[in-house]
Subunit: 104 residues, 2 copies
C-alpha cells in the first residue's frame, strides 16, 4: 500500500491516542501532504525534529495496530458484509436466508 495511504488509515483508527501536538503535525504531513521542510518552517522547529516526530507517530500507530488489530478486523468484516450483500442481492430461497441469519 502507498505509504501515505497506510499512514492515513492508521491515523483514522488510532489518531485519538496521539497527543494534540503529534496529531497536529501528523495531519499536516499525511492529510495536507506538506513536506517536512514546509512543516518545519510553519511550526518553527527543525526539519529533523519534524521527521523524528512523524517517525515516532508511525511507530506508535503501528504498535497499536499490532496489539489491537482494528484495521485487520475492519477489513475482514467489510469482506464478510460485501459477501453477504452479494448473497442477499440474488436471494431466492428460504434456506439461504436462514444461512445468512445464522451468520449474523
Amino acid at each position: 500500500m502507498e505509504k501515505k495511504l497506510k499512514q492515513g488509515l492508521l491515523y483514522d483508527f488510532y489518531g485519538p491516542l496521539l497527543t494534540e501536538h503529534q496529531k497536529h503535525i501528523y495531519e499536516l504531513f499525511v492529510y495536507d501532504d506538506l513536506s517536512l521542510s514546509e512543516i518545519a518552517d510553519m511550526e518553527g522547529i527543525s526539519r529533523q525534529g519534524v521527521g523524528d516526530l512523524i517517525h515516532r507517530c508511525d511507530k506508535a500507530l503501528m504498535e497499536y495496530e499490532e496489539k489491537l488489530g482494528l484495521i485487520e478486523r475492519f477489513r475482514r468484516n467489510r469482506d464478510r458484509l460485501l459477501k453477504l450483500k452479494d448473497e442477499l442481492s440474488d436471494i431466492n430461497d428460504k434456506e439461504l436466508v436462514d444461512d445468512i441469519i445464522e451468520e449474523l
Copy 2:
C-alpha cells in the same frame, strides 16, 4: 453495570495495550476474582501496591474507551445486526431486501 463486568469488558477490548505485569495482576483480580490481599500474598507486593496498580489499569482502560469508543461502537453494531436479523427473519417482499442491502 456491575463493576467487575465493566472491567472485564474494558479488558477484553483494550487489555493488549497494558504491560505484561499489569495484565497479569488485572486478570487475577477481574477474571479470577481474587481479593487484593490474596494477590498481594501471591505476588509478594503490598495490598496497597496491588490496589494502586488495578486503579491505574482502570484509568488507562477507561481513557482508551473515551478516545477510541470501541465498546460503544460494538454495542451499536450489535444492536443494528440484531435489528437486521429480526427483519430478515420475516422477510417477504423484495423492497425490504433492497432496503437491507442498502443498509449494508
